[in-house]
Amino acid sequence: MLQTIFVGLFGIAAIWFGVVVFTTSSMVRSALALLFSQVAIGAMFLAMQSEFLGVLQIMMMATEMSIMAIFMVMYMMDPGGLMGMDMTHQKRISQAVGVLGALLVIGLVFLVGWGPIAGSVSPGRQVHDLGIELMERSMLIFETAGITILTAMIATIAVALERRR
């Protein structure tokens, strides 16, 4: 019962901050609202007793969204939001598509029979078991992710490098 309340509260916070991302006109506020939305998602992970993922999500998103904030200040026309420009296109269509997508998924949630609900888990063993899973069964996935990260880093630097004349 308490878990449902916490998951619900953090979820409503995540959704509210997510809506603020697209309705505010200040760009830095938008980036930091996304940060707090992701932190609320991380808090939902913590409420659902997956401690490692929650802490990791909050830590990663704090750093990522701050970097996104400076990129917004660099590339957007009105970072302070004091001029009140409206920078959207096809607004009606995208609203309809967004609402339709959400309703579709919610309908699926209620129509599918989810099966038996499992009991509780203990956080103490979780970090150890997650480590064992990563190192034994999912080692190939982890190594592929590592190579993908390296490739993405090299590709990004190559794309963003200034051409020498």
Binding site: V7, S30, I41, S50, E64, V99, F110, T156
Partner: protein
Amino acid sequence: MATLIVALIIGAILFGVGLYGSLSQTNLVMIMMGVELMLGGAAVNLVAFWRFLHPEAYSGQVFVLIVMTVMALEMAVGFGVGTARFRYKGSVEMEEARDLKG
């Protein structure tokens, strides 16, 4: 059961908000923020499935780790492309990026 339904509904609404943002914004950075919200909603669903349906199978958490990795990577590559575009054109508005050449 109630917690699972609540978590899945929240994941669905996050996905919807992210979808609205990705489709309605003209700036590359804002589109990427919409994609981040969609991936966040998917991650919420995955953790709910892991916790309430199969807590003994840690491959659910590995899936979420990979989704988080993808979130970081698409942001990095997106900003690299945005930097190159900004250098060429002076703005990252997607409305101006209609032509294939240049």
